[in-house]
Amino acid sequence: MRIAIVDASASRAEVIREGLAALADCQIFVVSERKGLVARIGEIAPDIVLMDLGNPSRDVLEEYFAVSRVLARPIAMFVDESDDEAIAASVDAGVSAYVVDGLAPHRIRPLLDLAVRRFNAFARLQADLAEAQGKLAERECIDKAKRILMDSRGLGEPQAYAELRKTAMNQNKRIAEIAEAVVTAHQLMGGMG
């Protein structure tokens, strides 16, 4: 079975490829480049195409599948209504699948399940990363707010932090939100931020 993974994110494509490599009797092709996509798919002549839902070239590929007379044309996974649950799971995970007409369903399902799991795993990784970056940014903002309070009101660092914490508690907000307000106000008042 020939599988094409179309994904602008090379790292995610790699995560999917690794996952699918466990399947026996599969040849996997990764296409990350937008230019020449249709010609490349034509060369690969895949039985299955996996593509992330956030890829702007989805309309291009669907158009190609609809009008192409060159290969046995892959059709949207969505054509097989019997497997609605699997399709809903793939949309949830953010992956679309196109399958050559006539490919046995028992070969499609395990592959799709695997792809969905890999997509979800990648999404979790990204969420973790984003959270870590968000925390870092919050940390920096709080430090900035502390410095503003220290400079403008002559407080020591622990007092500046205590001031932020007290205000946050009084207003039922997070310290990071109060810090952001302090920094913004400071910028508005002509401070250097």
């Binding site: 291009v60 158009e63 609809a66 009008v67 949207a76 809903a88 949309v91 679309s96």
Partner: protein, 400 residues
């Protein structure tokens, strides 16, 4: 504290200027006033906007009108009946040609004359096959472009259309992948700013009041949450009134440009919403009235005849022949009954008829209404043909 009366509606959209009404309805609190919480879901392909709609990630979507009909008829995937109770706007697209071709087809100043540009392209097509990028096979862009080229005598085997996602239109022109593009704003302007091409025509010059994006949802979901969708229609109408007021253009352009909406250049967006187009690099923008048509003349009313026209074009370019059953199903996608029900008792004019002869108005025409007064302005196809929804087969037979 309980939430809004009608709960939440998630609305899928593509980052295009004509996604403005749901965005403004949300950002300016018009939805909230109607007891609705809107959640906007941004995507980058129509395929994904549609998938999310069909699998319930969104309750409604900003959609290209022909795709709503194709989905209902089961073109390319199993049939899923969609409903369109509100048109999100008329026209707003333009045709941009590669510089060398633009110089040949329209050496003149300003926007081109559709017949003259078309005749010049017909001459070029005798030498080589012309290739145009459109945003989707089931788009008004595709149908308007093809309507124009065919009416100008470009034989149908001498031009082809290929799908190019809007953000890559300028690239496709620059690399010579296509000779021209038919796309919505801000993407023509992006191509012009980059020197990749020149705008020669607005689609409003092909059909003065051509149906463009629609608000679509699954038929069953519309029935289930009818009060919420009617509240949405009222909110969108308020957004339309706000959108066309020049006093709001600066603020709305800045708002639409934000990363979570169009993530674009506010100056280009401002141009589009004020009906101004920069046709070529280094020139001053020209004003083309009603380039993008909203709100006035009940522009958002879903005329059944618009759906019927789109079906004739689907038949025309896909072959397979006219099917009366399909035509009836296509016509039922547009739901003027819901539009009227939502706006009864407001100040909005409600047309008395649900269908009209499209492209037949040469001047101002008073029309019968159930509520309010309404005068329609000129609404013609550039070649003078009119579409009578009572005789779609006769219309098809008369097209080149």
């Amino acid at each position: 504290m309980s939430g809004p009366a009608h709960g939440q509606l998630a609305i899928g959209f593509l980052p295009l200027v004509d996604a403005c009404l749901p965005i403004l309805a949300h950002a300016h609190g018009f939805a909230e006033e109607e007891g609705l919480d809107l959640r906007l879901v941004r995507d980058v392909s129509w395929a994904t906007v549609l998938d999310r709609l069909l699998y319930g990630h969104s309750d409604a979507a900003h959609l290209i009108a022909p795709l709503a009909i194709a989905t209902t008829l089961g073109r390319g995937r199993p049939a899923q009946p969609l409903s369109v109770p509100f048109v999100l706007g008329l026209n707003g697209n333009a045709i941009t040609l590669r510089n060398d071709l633009a110089d040949e087809a329209w050496p003149g100043e300003g926007l081109g004359d559709p017949r003259a540009v078309g005749a010049a392209l017909a001459a070029v097509s005798a030498r080589r096959v012309l290739r145009f990028g459109v945003v989707h096979r089931y788009s008004s862009h595709n149908y308007m472009l093809r309507y124009w080229l065919a009416a100008c005598g470009v034989p149908r085997d001498r031009f082809e259309t290929v799908t190019v996602p809007p953000p890559f239109c300028a690239d496709a022109l620059e690399s010579g992948e296509v000779d021209g593009i038919c796309v919505g704003e801000p993407w023509n302007s992006v191509a012009v700013e980059r020197g990749a091409g020149r705008i020669v025509l607005a689609t409003a010059q092909i059909w003065r009041r051509g149906v463009e994006k629609v608000l679509a949802m699954r038929e069953g979901v519309l029935e289930e949450r009818r009060p919420a969708f009617e509240a949405l229609i009222r909110a969108l109408c308020k957004a339309g009134r706000h959108f066309i007021d020049p006093a709001n253009w600066d603020a709305n352009a800045a708002l639409l440009a934000r990363p979570e909406y169009l993530d674009g250049n506010p100056h280009l967006i401002h141009r589009a919403i004020s009906d101004r187009l920069l046709l070529a690099q280094g020139q001053e923008p020209v004003h083309y009235p009603d380039f993008m048509f909203q709100y006035r003349e009940a522009a958002n009313f879903p005329w059944v005849s618009q759906a019927a026209w789109l079906y004739t074009q689907m038949v025309r370019w896909e072959g397979g022949g006219f099917d009366a059953g399909e035509a009836a199903r296509a016509a039922r996608v547009f739901r003027p009954d819901i539009y009227r029900s939502a706006l009864r008792g407001t100040g909005e004019p409600l047309p008395g008829a649900s269908s009209k002869v499209e492209g037949s108005l040469a001047g101002l025409t008073q029309v019968g209404t159930q509520q309010g007064a309404m005068t329609l302005e000129e609404n013609r196809f550039f070649d003078g043909r009119a579409f009578d929804p009572a005789d779609p087969e006769g219309y098809l037979a008369g097209l080149p």
